[in-house]
Amino acid sequence: MFKKALPLIVVLSAAALVLTACPTAKGPSEILIGINAEMTGDIPKVGEGTKYAAEIAVEEINSAGGLEVGGKKYPVKIIIEDNESTAEGATAAATKLITQDNVLIMIGAQASKQAIPAGQVANDNECPMISPWSTNPRTTLDRPWVFRGCFLDPFQGPVDAKFAMDELGAKKAAVLYDVASDYPKGLAEEFKKAFEAMGGQVVAFETFTTKDKDFSAQLTKIKAAEPDVLFTPQYYDEVPLIVKQARELGITCPILGSDSWGSAELMKLCGDACKGSFFSTHYAAAGAKGKTKEFIDKYNAKYGYVPDDVGALTYDTMYIAFKAIQDCGKLTGDLKTDRKCVCDALAKIKNFEGITGRMTFTEEGDPIKCAVIVKINDAGEFEFYKSACPEGME
């Protein structure tokens, strides 16, 4: 056997020598951006919006010949990885994008449940990551490599409380939220804290559990408490059920929601019941101007519906990533150096003019930016009502 195998081994080792002697490619020929998105699972609409918005941004850049970095134009390529809306899926997708596909920067995951573990992977592997939509503080906390494209729950809660008190004139508020989901829970608590600090009274603080469909018990209690406003920071698939049941039970006070309302699906599911309600979000599609309108029109023409906030935030995030790569000045082709360079550039971004407003990153990697209060008008559109900015802006 050895005699027979001998020539083969000689050939192989010769081939091996030739191969190792071959020079490897110098410098990157293209810029790889990884997208870690919720394509399947609980919130596929979020994944779809992410994908479409990222594709639009990349098309824009590539139709202009690519992204210019240090006088050279590089084509941009995105690699979309499905995280199945689970924590382990997000970890696997992030690990694949960073260690196998060798992306320069990762966009996503979107929901905090996925973004927190994905951020862990990005930070451990020293690859910059921006989550466009995750509002949980822990996503970026103590993680110099992780950034986000949206405001946080501790900002949004008080914005909603202030709006309820000042604009809706509410003294008594009721809250209905999902105790098993971190996003609504965090926001409900922030709202309660802020509303009470301003001298208001939370007369009902009712909870349910994910996938509950009947809220009549909680809503009956809420009705008995006679609130001036009902705050329910739930997702677009739950809001219609809550609002419809509330109206059927005769709760007539205004209903206030959070940025999770802002999906293109909401009005399809909710119909007339949601009209006249308010929610805080990242941008308002109806009546948008300038770059925002351009993006909305492009998206609507291509995919047949008005993009929701996930889409708009992802689009912004893509451009933040482009800007950071450009600010870097030069791509060496050595991934470690380039990633560090992009990460440093991200941290330095100031007054970035995005379609969801102007933003500057804090030390934690969170943007300082304004929130928008949207009113659902009689045509069922999300209409700009008021913007609420953190102190020191505008």
């Binding site: 192989l12 596929p44 592997n125």
Partner: protein
């Protein structure tokens, strides 16, 4: 196989397992030196993660309708062929060449050693090859650890659903208990944390105490299992399924309502524990403990079902009343089996939590339990090697088919339906691998008599 010349077949059949393992180790070594260059040279753009399956599928265009799929098929095919070339050059040739060359020396070497040492050498070789294979791309390492966790989950569930014939569908609940108990302990003891403050013990302890804490997590899960087993085995049949589903929900809701450990926001900080361990000694601790965890699970469950007590478990499956008459203490046996099963689910949970570095109650839902059930039935009820195989195949398939997005689930469940239609007993069908290839032939056990020339088994 029938077309292969008889001599080659005989030759391959005589190669001991250790030689194949050494061949794989050599292949992974070659890959870590030449893989990237070869990948770039033949146009793969780098090292393919799982033999090129994922990378070829990611070239499918899914969102442009049937036309897009058809148009992208050639590029998928071309990539697949190139990846095949890579696989042959990097894996298949080296494995067989090295295995062939080492066949004789290894057989001699193995025959001089006591059996326990042979087994140990096999395990070390397997571990080293997994380490070098995974070390090249960290993504592989993660998947290898997912497979390890799933093997523990599947084998332990197989004890209840396969060997004992009861129907438990809340395995993820016990996993959650183990995950939370062990992560809270490690984070409390070894890292700076918002909730628990400064580390309690010095870093050096982490290396020693980590496996013990995993066991504590397992014990907590076992106690939970015991609590469930006492009332539920007063009944028979479907009731266990209902009870275990409820327990799964109860555990999940309970964790959601404990603010101290994060509630629905989840719990993290386990990566800090790993960094502490690595600061003491920089080896892949988690891979080591997952590997050992899998080995211990397999050995314990194998020994249990082969013991007198364990035969009682199978007797219960066949006929509970007859078993009772034959002096099997059915109640006691059932409770014992269920506790052992929960214990290992807890161990799996502890490992899983440290692999992910972040857990939240939403991870341990009925879906996670269903996944374990699927792996048990895929591998075959009452077969440990079936569970190992199916956990490997299922986890790899879930990863490799990721580019197919929604179609992945369609495909996987379709395969499962087909399996149930045409091979209802699962891959192994209640048999073990050793029923097909003897340990002597693999070189794991010395032949009863020294046979010169070592004749292969008759066809």
């Amino acid at each position: 196989m029938a077309q292969l010349p008889r001599r080659i077949r005989e030759f391959l059949g005589r190669i001991p397992l250790l030689a194949y393992l050494l061949g794989f180790l050599a292949a992974t070594g070659i890959e870590s030196i030449l893989g990237k260059t070869l990948g770039l040279l033949i146009g793969l753009g780098g090292v393919p993660a799982f033999f090129g399956i994922t990378d070829s599928l990611s070239r499918l265009v899914l969102d442009k309708g049937l036309g897009g799929v058809l148009l992208s098929l050639p590029s998928v095919f071309i990539y697949f062929v190139l990846a095949l070339v890579y696989d042959v050059l990097i894996y298949i040739l080296p494995v067989f060449i090295v295995a062939g060359l080492l066949s004789r020396p290894v057989r001699w070497f193995v025959s001089t050693l006591p059996e326990w040492l042979t087994g140990f050498i096999h395990m070390v070789t397997l571990f080293l090859s997994l380490w070098t294979w995974g070390g090249l791309v960290e993504y592989r390492l993660l998947v290898v650890m997912y497979i390890g966790v799933n093997i523990i989950m599947t084998t332990s569930l197989n004890l209840i659903n396969g060997y004992m014939g009861e129907f438990s569908c809340g395995h993820a609940g016990f996993m959650a208990v183990g995950a939370y108990v062990s992560s809270v302990l490690t984070v409390w003891l070894f890292t700076q944390d918002d909730v628990f403050g400064a580390p309690v013990l010095r870093a050096g302890w982490s290396v020693i105490l980590f496996p013990l804490i995993l066991v504590v997590g397992g014990i907590a899960a076992a106690i939970m299992g015991l609590l469930v087993a006492f009332p539920s085995f007063k009944t028979r049949g479907d009731y266990l399924a209902i009870v275990t589903i409820s327990v799964n929900f109860i555990i999940k809701s309970a964790i959601e309502n404990i603010e101290k450990i994060g509630g629905p926001r989840g719990f993290m900080g386990m990566k800090g524990v790993l960094r502490t361990m690595e600061s003491v000694l920089n080896v892949p601790w988690l891979l080591i403990w997952t590997f050992i965890g899998v080995l211990v699970t397999l050995v314990v469950i194998h020994n249990f079902v082969s013991s007198t007590k364990g035969k009682g478990v199978v007797a219960i499956r066949e006929d509970e009343i007859a078993a009772e008459l034959m002096s099997v203490n059915t109640r006691h046996t059932k409770i014992l089996a269920f506790t052992i099963s929960s214990f290992f689910a807890g161990i799996a949970g502890g490992l899983f939590a440290h692999v992910l570095g972040y857990i939240n109650p939403g991870t341990f839902t009925i879906f996670k339990s269903t996944e374990s059930l699927v792996m048990v039935y895929l591998g075959g009820m009452g077969s440990i090697s079936g569970s190992v195989l199916s956990a490997g195949i299922f986890t790899l398939a879930m990863e490799a088919l990721r580019p197919l997005e929604v179609w992945k689930k369609v495909l996987i469940w379709l395969l499962l339906i087909l399996l149930m239609m045409f091979r209802r007993e699962g891959i192994m069908g209640g048999k073990e691998l050793t029923d097909f290839v003897s340990l002597e032939r693999l070189g794991l056990r010395r032949p009863v008599k020294e046979v010169k020339g070592y004749a292969p088994a008759a066809d």
